[in-house]
Symmetry: D2
Subunit: 433 residues, 4 copies
Amino acid sequence: MKQGLKIAVIGGGSSYTPELVEGFIRDYGDLPVRELWLVDIEAGLNKLNIVGELAKRMVAASGLPIDIHLTTDRRQAIRGADFVSTQMRIGMLEARVRDETIPLRHGVIGQETTGPGGMMKALRTIPVLLDICKDIKELAPQAWLLNFTNPAGMVTEAIHKYGGVRSIGLCNAPIGLIKLVSARYNTQPERIYAEFAGLNHLHWVTRIEVEGEDKLQELLENREQYAASNVPQHGWDPDFLRSLQALPSYYLKYYYLTDFMLQEQLNSTNKGGTRAEVVKRVEDELFKLYSDPQLKEKPKQLEQRGGAYYSEAAVNLMRSLHNGTNDIQTLNVPNRGTIDFLPDDACIEVNCVVTKNGPLPLPLTKIPQPVKGLMHAVKTYEQLAIEAAVNGDRALALQALAHHPLVPSVSTAKALLTEMLEANRDYLPRFFD
Amino acid sequence: MKQGLKIAVIGGGSSYTPELVEGFIRDYGDLPVRELWLVDIEAGLNKLNIVGELAKRMVAASGLPIDIHLTTDRRQAIRGADFVSTQMRIGMLEARVRDETIPLRHGVIGQETTGPGGMMKALRTIPVLLDICKDIKELAPQAWLLNFTNPAGMVTEAIHKYGGVRSIGLCNAPIGLIKLVSARYNTQPERIYAEFAGLNHLHWVTRIEVEGEDKLQELLENREQYAASNVPQHGWDPDFLRSLQALPSYYLKYYYLTDFMLQEQLNSTNKGGTRAEVVKRVEDELFKLYSDPQLKEKPKQLEQRGGAYYSEAAVNLMRSLHNGTNDIQTLNVPNRGTIDFLPDDACIEVNCVVTKNGPLPLPLTKIPQPVKGLMHAVKTYEQLAIEAAVNGDRALALQALAHHPLVPSVSTAKALLTEMLEANRDYLPRFFD
Amino acid sequence: MKQGLKIAVIGGGSSYTPELVEGFIRDYGDLPVRELWLVDIEAGLNKLNIVGELAKRMVAASGLPIDIHLTTDRRQAIRGADFVSTQMRIGMLEARVRDETIPLRHGVIGQETTGPGGMMKALRTIPVLLDICKDIKELAPQAWLLNFTNPAGMVTEAIHKYGGVRSIGLCNAPIGLIKLVSARYNTQPERIYAEFAGLNHLHWVTRIEVEGEDKLQELLENREQYAASNVPQHGWDPDFLRSLQALPSYYLKYYYLTDFMLQEQLNSTNKGGTRAEVVKRVEDELFKLYSDPQLKEKPKQLEQRGGAYYSEAAVNLMRSLHNGTNDIQTLNVPNRGTIDFLPDDACIEVNCVVTKNGPLPLPLTKIPQPVKGLMHAVKTYEQLAIEAAVNGDRALALQALAHHPLVPSVSTAKALLTEMLEANRDYLPRFFD
Amino acid sequence: MKQGLKIAVIGGGSSYTPELVEGFIRDYGDLPVRELWLVDIEAGLNKLNIVGELAKRMVAASGLPIDIHLTTDRRQAIRGADFVSTQMRIGMLEARVRDETIPLRHGVIGQETTGPGGMMKALRTIPVLLDICKDIKELAPQAWLLNFTNPAGMVTEAIHKYGGVRSIGLCNAPIGLIKLVSARYNTQPERIYAEFAGLNHLHWVTRIEVEGEDKLQELLENREQYAASNVPQHGWDPDFLRSLQALPSYYLKYYYLTDFMLQEQLNSTNKGGTRAEVVKRVEDELFKLYSDPQLKEKPKQLEQRGGAYYSEAAVNLMRSLHNGTNDIQTLNVPNRGTIDFLPDDACIEVNCVVTKNGPLPLPLTKIPQPVKGLMHAVKTYEQLAIEAAVNGDRALALQALAHHPLVPSVSTAKALLTEMLEANRDYLPRFFD
């Protein structure tokens, strides 16, 4: 007889794991986890042990009957799991450094999820996720695969098209926006309703209700606050927002403020610090903290890491799937007519009702007319890149890159592609067989 | 009793007019023109007279019973017309110089139909065309308005949405491609069948049959010929074309080779010659030729002017509409489902069967997957710019420009818009009332 | 300062009203009704007073501060209302008798919501509802109009197209199915999730989960139970249901078992009792009960009246709209892409998330392939009949009837239409001016 | 070296063959047929010889170098063919008698292409056509399969979905309408343009131009002529046509005048003559004529056979495909968005431009709103019946029949299906293995 849930976390040695464990402890009543399997690769064994031991101490302190397993045997972890969650980085931070720096040398935005860097990450990551799907199909065919691995939209779409398992993509950005607005209005996150339209890392928020009152206009108009970094509209031109009638995702700055963002990246790289290098330092500090045998809870410092709320999003989703609560969450799911100009099988990021059988996307009440082309252009690139990743097809990869809105010409695309493929050769067997 | 057709040419003082007259003479059997009214504004009266007298000499030499009328009274010309054709430039070549140079100063492509320059031309032109439509609705409600005025796709779409008259947009590029291919294969243009997919100045040719044989692959692959300027594939990267499986319009170089084209524009401007200035010199020479009272035919030199085949396209279309020949021509027409991801009312440039009741777009047999996003992005910009033009709405104009694929940021868009609107103040009453 | 909600019930003298009052009392905590206005026409004043006095006694017994107002002044009742609900029958039971008997004389199903009878009811009712909308637009523009008036799908669609007010259509059939299944499985209605696809009185249930377990197959297969009238699958051929993979609405028997249902109607009419006449007797008994000054609660007998759960559905919906609870209810709403082959403005009956801004239809997870044509055919008829009602257009009414799946020929349609319009002359001013 | 075309006619012993041969002779200049292979089954060998010898005499009289081959070896006939045409009846006229009489006994229209009879014909015919497709794929992969075999729309759709060959469906009804109108207006068929919208044997004509003038209204209104059987509008109610604004196909009488047509069928059956039996007599007479060794041309009497113009349609289509003339013909082709509410892979009957690569459907300029539901309902039935035929699936066949607009109930559908399957057992191996 089944006594509780089995959960497998691929990339369990991640610095995010304590947040996830904290969530499982907090929500145990609604989500009775019996076994938590943290899986990682050999190269990550040291981190896995550090974070795993912290997890064990946290559970022990809670007094709950949750078994923590640490392993490099992915198949054992997956067998019979109810949920599989993935949070991993193929090629580790070294690959991220390359994703961020090679494009910059060609005068193109260097970012790990957006533009050429994001495409390289997708090419490395998608085949690994599809391998994981093979194991799930065989060993836990009823499991839900919750994918956080970036670029989450593309990876989730690839899984839907080629993985043959039940899967949902998640990002921390939507929950982050909710938290920001709730802080701004000094209310509970549950009292905020925001409607998201678009793709992962490319969404627009077209409705924000705070305690049942529409506050979008107020947020778009509030000029004096644009300088403050702790407000949702930080850094955007108020005239532009007002005529757009939507709040763009932070990642849209790479598209709307391309020249400015590029300059900023060049400046910070010249000062000797890509984002990857900053993250590396933060992680080192976190693992030092985690190693403390006295630590029995998630340290506050983790919240300053970029990925805050990732695990909260994951636990919320598992809880709703498990209980069929039919509540609304912002998720990455196949389009199937929700955005009428995108293909049915395109993954989009929108509000969904989470039923026991999975998420159902809610109809969009508004989609800003000006953004349709950009959204379609990025999705077109994504779909080409997914096919390139699955087939190891250079011609498709060239088409993807040449048609990416941030790439200024076919010749730049060609040069970039050649260099980036070569630099990632070890992680791209489908391209270099 | 009606004894033949009445045709009104708005912008009749254009240097293209002799080609049109030549066409009417050549096709008189199928298209019995009784009255040809050449209309122009006061400022163009001198040119109108020069070109009008040449037209009269051409007709006299032909011995055909066609009456040529020269006038500045547009309403008289339109009254009872069967066809109205427009070929005009609001603000004349001076405005074009500004369209081409202001964007360059902001590091953006400067071109009269593509990008910010094209948008300014649209803002100046659309209200004038809608005024002409008012006259047609009143004075010749059954007339066909054939629109050549650039940006032809946007202007035609504006007419369809707001003009209330029967209208078709035309461009010389499709017929030009046919002529190039027919020369390359040493056969008649009638033996070439090419399928066009896309928008005006933003199309891709996805099928080329020469005498019933598919030659697309051969044209895409023929590497040694890319250097030759008299071939369709001139200047494109063969690897890119082969994986795209389509021949892009010449104008697509502004999108696919942005950095290169921008550099070329900067170089030639520095050498003291925008395209507008080159055209001005060519036109001066043409009008000198036209003034010769001995000249009784279209001079060969006209063919070197960029707009070759414009008039051939026009005469072909009038002939097919008049006779209901159900033949196939490449035209700008409302989408109505032909390209499934674009709105029904978007004007597209595709092959059509020309019935007596107007053109019916043929279904596309192929549309390259990679180009969908770019096509949608440019159409999105076009639709916003049309609304801005009709309403004199700066906020919409900002959205249009900020979302144009060639504009690198919202701040550039804002600066450019401010400067260009100001520079065109005289021609933008809807913006400056 | 607003102290509670104002609710106007048009047709307040209906025998259903006590159920509604009971609901307001039960849910007062979530739905604080301050004023309840019961409106009826002069001819219904006697009933209004009987049912109104019972309502007052029920409220008094509850001790809640709800004011009951009885009036024939519709405008006073609507002014400033938060919710307007309608439950009325234009032409009263006499008109229903005609709706049920005239078609039978032509060999066609005689039913008050389905077929020619339903169309006559729509022709009588739609103009009256649109008049009510005029009052709401003027006097309570923010009010929600909850429409129970049959044929509810057509009436709601007409309101959406021509009424200019916020409106939702409701039916008791979906909630009735849920109650039947919950009784069958001995569980709470809240533990049942059923997915409805289709139109009002023309839906199919494609998923039934009981406490999270899929029971559709079991319900379709359970052959021995088909004879029992208290099960959802009562009377259907089990082979047919199994290959259909959906449970049809009771009303679909008029389409799937036309010959049998027609015979049954003819038999019962011959025995001297149409459905209308039966209902009349039940109503007379109810009002006798209601008149008892000792009665202070809804009598049990009301539940045997066909319309059980109507008021429960209404109170649930008001509560969710008022509180923005984002829960799921089965409602009649504009299609907007949910059923891809029906027009966007077609009203459909599907599960919706009820947000503060109104219902958002959930995507259908399944729609049985075989039923698409029938669904489209009935919706086509409905849309034609709505236009006929709004414009008093006989030609459209003929097209509607001639294309109704239950009408065997154009000549029958013509004869039926002539006779039915004449019989309803008093209620069809748009047809007889 | 190829010296001309090879054509294979499956069912070459048909009485229509002389018309086809006449067409090949007449159009030899545009369609140089070198080999004509007439194929039939053993049971049809006698007819094949009679009609084949007549064909040889016709060719000899023409003096053209066309070789006629008579054979029962289908594969030999197909090998290397340019065109394969099919005109056959699985089960011969005996099966047709059953298709027409069994439904009548259940009170349902008995017709060989419409309703239950048409479904049985489809179940018998589709597997045979798919077998022929296997041969074509192997032996003549570039051939065009022109399908006349009824129900032509369903058979063609099945070939498109499962046959893997290039195929087009043809019917003589559209060309017949053109001839009728040209006779009515005393002009050439080439001067008529009619727009067809719908399915095979279920189309509506929404535009009729005679010498460039719109005559639809005149044809719909002309009341005094409805009695005359040689006009297109014969037998329709003028009020109905006028409000429909379209001329329905003759076959639509089975839907629009169901009660009348049923009575007529019952009467004529009682008088001892189904349509099948009438046809049988006509055929016997034709073959007697064909046997005359003096006959060297198509006899006039053939035109009185129902299928007049079938062969003219076929020869026209082959000629256009061979020469890429881009002319317009009414054909059965996959929908692909032409009728927006039908699936992309549904076969529809519409005007097409016949290019060298096959037909491209023209956009419909009008589709009568009232007919959408009926069109969708019949197409739904067709798609279910195709799947039933391909898979020998009784459950799908039941769904198809139960949802057919002419079948009054599930129980009638079930009884009919059982009886008809049994009666066709010899021709339905997929159902009876």
